[in-house]
């Protein structure tokens, strides 16, 4: 839920990085924290276990563009990806304005990707939000690894809905397309906020067309 404060001339937005366990959500935030000007960011707060697994959430506050004298403040959160932490994911999703869904491109993670996307839809539905109403983009992460699924297969699994969204081939460890996807979702929610009528019609297309492979069958998000 964006909040606009006419006294402090600030607009606040909340973006949540969502996805299965170990898909690279925290790595996204760490890269953004490292690369953004210190003047425009706060501390990266990470509530992790001793093994560096996200236990509660990671949090990074950012200041961005000034629009008509109002500073836009973005709060970036990650959710814990492990299945058992669903209550925490529901908490972090409260008042969300935009989502970056981070999918793991490795073949063996396909079911986890689809399950996590379905979980996102369910948890948004609990807040009476449809996934089609909220600005979101897809990241196909770990594109530098050897055992990865082709992008059109990931599109088939995750971006095969009536309304297709922007998607990015990402290597979060090197930063490839990390800022591109953050900027895309930020633009989408700023447009939604400015007009109150959803995302801009001229959004760039996804990276590839969805193609059903001959590989093992996994239920797609459009079939869920």
């Amino acid at each position: 839920m964006s909040i606009i404060n006419y006294a402090s001339r600030e607009i606040q937005f909340k973006i949540v990085y969502y996805g299965p366990a170990l898909c690279g959500k925290t790595t996204n935030l760490a890269y953004i924290h490292e690369r953004i000007s210190p003047a425009n960011r706060g501390d990266l707060v990470s509530l992790a276990t001793a093994a560096d697994r996200t236990l509660f959430f990671d949090f990074l506050p950012l200041n961005a563009v000034v629009i008509k004298g109002f500073v836009t403040k973005f709060q970036l959160y990650t959710v814990p990806g492990q299945v058992i932490y669903n209550a925490t994911r529901q908490l972090v999703l409260r008042s969300v304005d935009g989502v970056v869904f981070v999918a793991d491109s490795q073949w063996e993670k396909m079911e986890e990707n689809v399950e996590s996307f379905r979980n996102l839809e369910e948890n948004l539905a609990q807040q009476n939000i449809s996934i089609d109403e909220i600005p979101y983009v897809l990241q196909y992460n770990k594109r530098d690894l050897a055992n990865i699924a082709p992008v059109n297969y990931l599109e088939f699994l995750l971006n095969n809905r009536k309304k297709r969204v922007q998607s990015f081939e990402v290597i979060s460890s090197t930063g490839q397309n990390v800022f591109a996807s953050l900027n895309a979702v930020s633009q989408m929610l700023l447009h939604k906020f400015s007009k109150g009528d959803g995302v801009p019609a001229a959004a760039p297309p996804p990276v590839a067309a969805p193609v059903e492979p001959s590989a093992p069958k996994i239920a797609t998000t459009s079939q869920l």
């Binding site: 607009i11 509530l47 949090f59 961005a64 908490l91 953050l182 633009q187």
Partner: protein, 156 residues
């Protein structure tokens, strides 16, 4: 969930009045009103030494994390939480279903005093937030060109 699309100058002045009065009576350092998603709605007091945004995010998480604990003893949630430090302490209390109030205080006062005055303050804040009309919209419009001129965030 109640939507709080916009806080006008008048709303903020009213909130500041309520929170300022509370800080004076309770002799606390800082009070912050947040929604349960961790967004800061209003703040009053000495904010020079801490990042209020981060405190808000962590406090919302802390409040929610104890909800299950409360359920185990037959409560819906704990209405208030107190974290005791050596010199600085945090007291958090529920304002309404969507809002929490955080108070940070030191050695000048006591948790009893903070707790006593925070109850009436929470009630006043709740009434003010309820009086906001969510259907009125945020009333802030701008052109798409204002945001598409360049990337929102720049990679150094």
């Amino acid at each position: 969930m109640n939507s709080i699309p916009a806080l006008t100058l008048e709303n903020v002045a009213s909130l500041d009045g309520i929170l300022g009065d509370f800080l004076k009576k309770a002799d606390a350092d800082l009070t912050v009103v947040i929604d349960r998603g961790g967004n800061v709605i209003s703040q009053f007091g000495d904010i020079s030494v801490m990042d209020v945004t981060i405190i808000a995010a962590l406090a919302a998480g802390s409040f929610a994390a104890t909800k299950e604990l409360a359920r185990r003893i037959g409560e819906v949630e704990f209405n208030a939480l107190y974290h005791q430090g050596n010199g600085s302490h945090i007291f958090m209390n529920s304002v309404d279903d969507d809002t929490i109030m955080i108070t940070i205080f030191g050695k000048r006062t006591t948790v009893g005093l903070v707790r006593f005055y925070s109850a009436a303050t929470a009630q006043a804040v709740s009434q003010l937030l309820k009086s906001l009309d969510p259907s009125a919209g945020h009333g802030f419009t701008f052109d798409a060109s204002d945001v598409t001129a360049g990337p929102v965030f720049a990679d150094r």
